[in-house]
């Protein structure tokens, strides 16, 4: 794949360049030695992220600033990227496995007649080729996949591939590109931003999660306080969602979100197989549960057998004091 171009469509959320886009840039650098790494920025506000992308590994930044691209609209982004890919003919396209990535990359794969290896948590490159590692059965197993025909398309799961150390000496060429005429077929009427704390579950490095043991919607409050001290996101088991203690968008598990944070604190969660499937690849797991036989203790690195309403506020207090030092 030498002397070729690898494109990385970059996303901005709440004014910030998304970390997973930098992770995808790093992955692109690893698979494409000798290639040009091209970040793609869409939208008028994107200009302020050029430096971060250059420092994160982009050799060139392709920027299309049509107003329809200012916010993440799947149909507009798909059309803009299709035009850019058609014009630039990259050897590969890597993007975060985000809501937008999941909407546009499969469509691009069909448009360009190639495969898409989605939700990758690692990659290998050697004389035999490039293989991406991805979870199957919600992480109960893993597969390695390779592209055998056409462009290499892949989406990268957040928080699994390290971004490059920012290199302040790096500069990137900026190339303005046309987004092409964009005929969008769906309209976003309204967006209600739920994550007030701004930390999305799939990108969170720390997650504080509540199960049935939380007992009520108010029961999440001590968990939210702990999350605030840690800069963490709040998740939940299916049991807590089914019981109405929280919204399904918090659900972690085989039929919810699959997460791989550095630290997962499970409060009042028993550890059913489906829940474990959603979080057992976390780097460090803490379990807090009244029941010493709860299956969650079999995967936890540290366990507190006790009432979460006693443990969590005390833990919050200790960590707050510690982090303030």
């Amino acid at each position: 794949m030498e002397n070729k171009l690898i494109l990385v469509p970059a996303e901005v959320r709440s004014g910030q360049l998304r970390r997973v886009s930098l992770e995808a840039l790093a992955a692109a650098g690893r698979i494409g030695e000798g290639c040009r790494i091209g970040a793609v920025l869409l939208g008028r506000e994107a200009e302020k992220h050029i430096e971060a992308l250059a420092q994160g590994g982009a050799d060139v930044i392709y920027w299309a600033d049509a107003p329809e691209l200012d916010s993440p609209h799947a149909d507009a982004w798909y059309q803009a990227l299709a035009g850019i890919i058609r014009d630039l003919q990259p050897a590969a396209v890597l993007m975060g496995h985000t809501a937008l990535g999941k909407d546009v990359m499969p469509r691009l794969a069909v448009r360009f007649g190639c495969g898409l290896i989605a939700d990758c948590v690692g990659l290998e490159k050697d004389a035999e080729g490039i293989r991406f590692v991805r979870p199957i059965y919600a992480g109960k197993a893993f597969e390695k996949r390779t592209a055998v025909h056409g462009m290499l398309l892949a989406t990268i799961r957040p928080n699994n591939i390290a971004p490059n150390e920012p290199d302040s000496s790096r500069q990137a060429e900026v190339v303005r590109v046309a987004a092409g005429p964009l005929h969008v077929r769906t309209v976003i009427r309204d967006i209600v931003r739920k994550s007030a704390s701004g930390v999305d579950l799939s990108e969170a490095k720390i997650i504080v999660s509540g199960g049935r043991g939380v007992k009520s919607a108010e029961g999440f409050r001590p968990l939210q306080e702990l999350a605030d001290v840690l800069g963490a996101a709040v998740g939940a088991s299916r049991g807590a969602c089914d019981a109405g203690y929280c919204d399904y968008s918090l659900q972690i598990g085989q039929t919810g979100k699959i997460v791989t944070p550095d630290l997962y604190i499970a409060c009042g969660i028993s550890g059913a197989i489906q829940h474990l499937a959603g979080m057992s690849n976390s780097r460090v797991i803490v379990a807090i549960n009244k029941d010493p036989e709860a299956p969650i203790f079999q995967v936890a690195d540290y366990g507190i057998v006790g009432d979460l309403f006693e443990a969590v506020p005390r833990l919050t207090k200790q960590l707050k004091a510690m982090l303030e030092q």
Binding site: R134, A141, V192, Y248, V284, V286, G303, I304, G306, R314
Partner: protein, 255 residues
């Protein structure tokens, strides 16, 4: 209105994964309809009950996937079509080509499917199929309203709630919370045995050799290292909280 709903048969989410000869072993495994597809089927049946639509359930998979289609029929779908792959070398690109060939043959106003399957978990099929059919798609939908040709969908997009509008024909992928899927009733199950279920081989769909060839290949499948249980902390709750904070900082180095 004509609604196509995609169904995939997957392992029950309770199942542990066992490898045999480097592949996932399905001997003795309990098989179910992909939970996300249940929301899609349920939504199709509700639309049918509200406005008299015809619902056709379609699956791309091995012969045993017939039982997932019978479940869709038992929930209320009118007909089913099973495209048998013949081997398991197909990937997402082949599945979408096959489903698209059936969809074109059927004609449709709305296509419903699950947001992703709990086995492959790639969430590609819906968007791929929409692109093959040259229709827009709205993914991860938690509420769907159809009024004539107008579609209004509420979707869960990474914690944000978006309200999206479009027009039929389009494809919707179903997210948890869209509805409560019904259990097939006994009369439903009995009726399902007599409803038409057509079986077609992938090779009979008129696809090119290129379309029927996977664009990706699996080189290896492995199980993650088994996690061991770690330390259960001791002492009174104040002591345990202090110890945990210290361990997280100094030993685990995650705070």
């Amino acid at each position: 209105m004509k609604i196509l709903v995609l169904v995939k048969q997957t392992f029950d989410t309770e199942e542990k994964i066992v490898l045999k000869d480097g592949r996932v072993n399905d001997e003795g495994v309990n098989l179910i309809m992909n939970p996300y597809d249940e929301y899609a089927v349920e939504e199709a049946i509700r639309l049918k009950e509200a406005s008299g639509a015809e619902v056709v359930a379609i699956s791309f998979g091995p012969e045993r996937a017939e039982s997932a289609l019978r479940t869709a029929l038992a929930m209320g779908a009118d007909r089913a079509v099973l495209v048998e792959a013949g081997s398991d070398a197909a990937d997402e690109s082949v599945a979408a080509k096959a489903l698209a060939a059936v969809a074109r043959r059927e004609s449709f106003d709305l296509v419903l499917c699950g947001y992703m399957s709990v086995d492959n978990g790639a969430a590609q099929t819906g968007p791929r199929l929409a692109e093959e059919l040259d229709i827009p798609h709205i993914s991860s939908v938690t509420k769907l309203t159809i009024d004539g040709r107008s579609v209004t969908a509420v979707r869960d997009a990474e914690g944000d709630t978006e309200t999206v509008e479009g027009e039929l024909p389009l494809l919707v992928t179903a997210q948890q919370g869209l509805n409560e899927p019904r259990y097939p009733s006994l009369p439903g199950i009995m009726k399902a045995k007599k409803k038409p279920l057509e079986r077609i081989a992938l090779s009979e769909l008129g696809l090119s050799a290129g379309d029927m060839s996977a664009k990706t290949a699996v080189t290896d499948i492995f199980l993650p290292a088994k996690r061991q249980g770690g330390k259960i902390l001791q002492g009174d709750m104040d002591e345990q909280a202090a110890e945990l904070a210290r361990l997280l900082r100094d030993e685990a180095k995650v705070v």
